[in-house]
Symmetry: C2
Subunit: 250 residues, 2 copies
């Protein structure tokens, strides 16, 4: 696992160098069919990370946002989102991040969230404590939804019942991208509820949340795998699971 962690750190360093070069600069903007802005930075980062994986781990599979998938020959697959939070990147707001995950037979075993502007990095590895810039972090206790602050990136990706979040939770905050999951690991935020996430948007998150003492699952309460549908519930305090799932099922 230490070899995988070192490789991930190197990949995140390389991604950060590229992203800082493009951040807040004028450049050509492309758009995909779903109108998500895709930047030159996005592609340059994924290209570089794929090069590194090909060089060091040629038999591993690769699933990225920008280029086609590469089949795994050994059960290991790297899952990459070069810039999670493209809108934030586009407007110059440093709440986006590079997500790098390693899956073993479809289950996440290693994940990093890297914010290259504020230079903040979370790393989680199965069975090990989550590190934030090299220091162990822990989620905080919160035993009632009424005491919980919940984050979500956008109401447009939520069911129409989302206004009820304001009744159930202490407070709701919008627009965090992957950064919000890091804030849970550090014990500053209690919950994130999101839907519509792609595999590369969530695969880095379980090792980070779980290694800090939290819980992450889909809206049916199942662990996240490469086959999950992208409805995410992340909690700093696992004891909130049943309350949160009951709310989501209503």
């Amino acid at each position: 696992m230490q070899e995988f962690i070192q490789l991930t750190e190197y990949m995140a360093d390389e991604a950060g160098t590229i992203i800082r070069h493009y951040f807040r600069q004028s450049f050509e903007i492309d758009t995909k069919e779903d109108e998500t802005p895709v930047t030159a930075a996005d592609r340059a980062v994924e290209k570089r990370l794929r090069e590194i994986i090909e060089m060091h781990r040629p038999q591993d599979g690769i699933l990225g946002e920008e280029f086609g998938p590469k089949e795994s020959q050994n059960g290991f697959t790297w899952v990459i989102d070069p810039i999670d939070g493209t809108k934030s990147f586009m407007i110059g707001r440093p709440t986006f991040g590079t997500l790098i995950a390693l899956a073993e037979n479809g289950a996440p075993v290693l994940g990093t969230i890297d914010q290259p502007i504020s230079q903040e990095r979370w790393i989680g590895a199965k069975g090990e404590p989550t590190l934030f810039n090299g220091k162990t972090v822990k989620t905080r206790s919160c035993t009632s939804l009424k005491d919980a602050i919940v984050g979500s990136t956008s109401p447009s990706q939520m069911p129409e019942t989302w206004p009820k979040m304001y009744d159930q939770f202490k407070s709701v905050i919008w627009g965090g991208d992957c950064y919000s999951y890091g804030l849970i690991a550090n014990g500053w935020l209690d919950c994130v509820i999101e839907s519509g996430l792609a595999t590369y948007d969530y695969m880095a998150l379980p090792p980070i949340i779980e290694g800090a003492g939290g819980l992450i699952c889909d809206w049916d309460g199942n662990p996240l795998t490469m086959a999950s549908e992208g409805q995410i519930l992340a909690l700093g305090d696992a004891s909130l699971k049943e309350q949160a799932l009951t709310f989501l099922a209503a």
Copy 2:
């Protein structure tokens, strides 16, 4: 005006020192009647800024978020929001800011947005170019809503027609607090639409937006004053005004 700008810079420096001390630390949380979290940092900053104003400008009025208003004896009033974006501050996300404005007979003549963690500061003064960390900045051109990225802090403060923003604008991004207005000044964001803002939430913004070439008004198209109702339209390109007001009136 230079004397006022220097005093504002000193106030923002002092606020930043206090805020960095409290950011991401455990501390007692109070709540006001409207459930906005108010922190020890909020009060400590406003207390310090009031001390500075009392010492240097004893005849000026003061309107703050945390303590009662002080009447102006000379037409000048300082308008202070020690931490705009309290929720962001609470979860450890550095998109909040200290807002310091100076109004002359109710109209804003000087404003600053200071983000003390990323150490980013916007200063606008009537008739002068807006400065971002000491450098002149300009808004960007955008002549159609269909090409515009629009930001807003929360859908809960918007009219129920907010989903139509997704049809009218190129892209919608949530959760920016005062930071989003700075991003307009720098030409990275095209528009912010918000409602429910208090006087201390918006009085610093007009000199910053206008000094960078943009336009800011209420939803009827009127300039912002201390008497405005807190419905804000901010544009990087003033030529979008009529399109945006037509959308807001619908």
